[in-house]
Point group: C2
Chain length 310, copies 2
Amino acid sequence: MKVVALAGGVGGAKMVLGLAQILRPQDLTVIVNTADDFEHLGLHISPDLDSVCYALAGIASRETGWGRSAETWNTLSELGRLGGPVWFHLGDRDLATHLERTRRLTSGEPLSKIVRAFCRAWGIKHTVLPMTDSPVRTFVCTQEGDLEFQTYFVMRRCRPRVRSFEFRGAEHATPAPGVMDAIESADGVVICPSNPWVSIGPILSMPGVRHAIKMRKTVAVTPIISGKAIRGPAAKMYRELGIRPSAVAVAKHYHDLAWGFVLDQVDAPLEAQIRQLGMRTRLAKTLMRTKGDRLRLAKDVLDFLGTEQR
Amino acid sequence: MKVVALAGGVGGAKMVLGLAQILRPQDLTVIVNTADDFEHLGLHISPDLDSVCYALAGIASRETGWGRSAETWNTLSELGRLGGPVWFHLGDRDLATHLERTRRLTSGEPLSKIVRAFCRAWGIKHTVLPMTDSPVRTFVCTQEGDLEFQTYFVMRRCRPRVRSFEFRGAEHATPAPGVMDAIESADGVVICPSNPWVSIGPILSMPGVRHAIKMRKTVAVTPIISGKAIRGPAAKMYRELGIRPSAVAVAKHYHDLAWGFVLDQVDAPLEAQIRQLGMRTRLAKTLMRTKGDRLRLAKDVLDFLGTEQR
């Protein structure tokens, strides 16, 4: 079964890692959000791509959920001593990724080609694609003004109240080479338990992508359990936009797009409501704490995708 | 006694460190070569400024003669894994200097102001000035073409045969704020035992600087002992330009500029020749291996500058 996974950062990386343990390299393509990429210290940083790649390469930090394992922080500590900006935590190993990516981008290489080279260097066999090579940037529109995503997320710690989102540049962007082909030839699409607003939203905003995904058998996995986001600001965003955060809210996000919805077994009482949206449902343990959790969830999702006809 | 020291990298840094142990902060201004600055991985690197500042701050590596003490190399090793350029060795701590300098330059701050801020952060009390805030770049003209200095020095390991030097941008450059004032109000100028061609040459090429130094009591310290450079390609450069490398050759470099010349005691037989050039001479132990060596040489140089009238 050929599968395409749409992924943001941490939650996406975990799901993808589970899928990669089951699917052969030629059968899994991961399309990753790049709208929270940003420029910092002159470097082009791609947080979601790095989270997914570090996870697949087995070099991700197990403690933080972002960054590298066996990381050191000497550059950052000296940067602080010089009065430089230290609000975005850059480890010494991680820095190499940003330096080399920036060097290649500056020399004219497209991001998708750079990701391919990095995956080869890191021994990643499955295909990882940025959603686009075009510059698309998420702005979080808040009562304090329009904030670039990392400013909102890291510097302001998601505190400003959200009014809306803008994916600037999306309308003129082109999906990266391979993205449309992968979706169109997939037997199924998995929307990972990433933030629907700021991780999956930008991918779906790529011209042609939403329609292509609609044409496939698509399963979305909830990032909200018992009304709470497993990680990050998804639940807070729903609330500030006047929507009660729940698996139902996420299902509504995707119901015109996805055939099926995976909700957590603790949310079983919500299953009927989600079915009323016209979606098939599957109850699963969606919280991925251990390697075993990831693998079991990936199996459940693939089973759900594979066993029932559209 | 108010002293100005002209310095390049390693040899300059050692001499400066000796002088700083004797002279009060308000009595020593170091003017540092910036013509071997270069862009690498999108970073603005100032090797000579960093060598001098790291030495004065007590954070210089004792083993290498460049870079930081307690250094780690995780960025560089990961950069190599990604196929990035690793010919220029950047340590993790050192990287912070380049990142923050580049960030400030990009935001429009002049190099001299950045150096001042860094010196404050590193606890350096004496004054360190870049020779200029203007872009001046040393090109080594060789039989393999005109090479940017770091390409010649680090990547090509000084192998190409030298024909001449160019300090591109020098004619339109302005000495950095404070440079002319420091020279004009100095009781004496010390030309450190740095490479006369590529470390001191660029400083002297700054409009007005050579003349201002001529007007002061200036002492040059030889970087050549027994016909050999203590470090680096100075002797090789003299040979390739058809000049026998010796303290006499260095003295000829500076005789229209300097009142006095410090040569190594092992070169005592050359003293008469140098006097014939019209220079006063002083024999000293010019090889600085230990802290004691640096201090003694600095004392000798200051004594030479101070005890004899011009």
